[in-house]
Subunit: 152 residues, 2 copies
DNA sequence: TATATTTGCATCGTGAACGATATAAATTAT
DNA sequence: ATAATTTATATCGTTCACGATGCAAATATA
């Protein structure tokens, strides 16, 4: 009768499920190199720009530092990156790739293409993806703004 | 130069972020009643059809039983539901709502509307949501099928 | 009817997420 | 310059996710 509570009418459940399933699709490709998906995201950020403070990495990923710090420590223990105290600002920890961390980019070069092609289907094609990106960006920006308003 | 690894070109990062942020939007509404978002999902399933075995709940949410079992135990400890051994099949645990669990539906009646309206923006409107749902369903079904093929 | 396999659920270990809180360095105000 | 505030990061506790594994009940096979 009342469809408000029907799982099939829920945007969030779709996002939650799609996110989990696509992360699972990354798993076999990343675990070969001992990486998790969030760790892979950190690598994307550092390949883009090396030697960033924790805060910049967290902001780029829209995560809190209390999520990123332990993640970075695990990656440091794996020899993928280093964390060194900032010179200009002693509070900052500057995160830099090791050679091992840089080399992973070549080893993982097939990952985006492999995962990307695994989600293609009738309703998700090169033609429809820009529209999907636009809607997801809209949702993300909207929710980001709502959060900022609350914290004022 | 090579945009494959750019965070802004990644579908998964968008899904991951959108999922996290919208779950955060649920948080203040649900925590008032001591619920988490995955627990709310279990309630949606049980409000739809009470007295289901663990397996049916897990399948409906596309989760594994090793994720759902501890979650159900916490909800049982809160007095939201009961878990009783199946009669026809002694391996099954039948999960049923308590009066408290049923009453939560009235108390949370404003949640879908509240969260739903919080994501509306230029690119996400009642007119565009069906298209978004279709694409997310396409991705989910595609990845679900890929998983099943692997397990054969 | 024994034996083998499958099924349903649970346990365990690891790694996120995240709210709440702590701490020290930097900045601002007095 | 001293005190108050802000900022950058870290610690802690709880709750997912999920791969790996275990176990007992049910089913299939020999």
């Amino acid at each position: 009768m009342d469809g408000r509570f029907n799982l099939d009418n829920q945007l969030c459940f779709r996002l939650y499920t799609a996110s989990r399933l696509i992360t699972q699709a990354y798993h076999p490709l990343l675990s070969e190199y001992g990486l998790t998906y969030p760790q892979y995201l950190v690598l994307l950020v550092l390949w883009e720009k090396d030697a960033q403070p924790v805060n910049d990495i967290a902001k780029r990923l829209l995560l809190e530092t209390n999520t990123v710090t332990p993640l970075l420590k695990r990656m440091e223990a794996e020899g993928i990156l280093t964390r060194t105290q900032g010179i200009k600002d002693a509070r900052q920890m500057i995160v830099s790739l090791t050679p091992k961390g840089r080399n992973l980019q070549k080893k993982l070069s097939a990952v985006p293409e492999t995962v990307g092609s695994s989600v293609l289907c009738d309703s998700v094609t090169p033609a429809t993806v820009p529209g999907l990106f636009g809607m997801l960006d809209g949702i993300i920006n909207q929710l980001k703004n709502n959060k900022n308003e609350d914290n004022q």
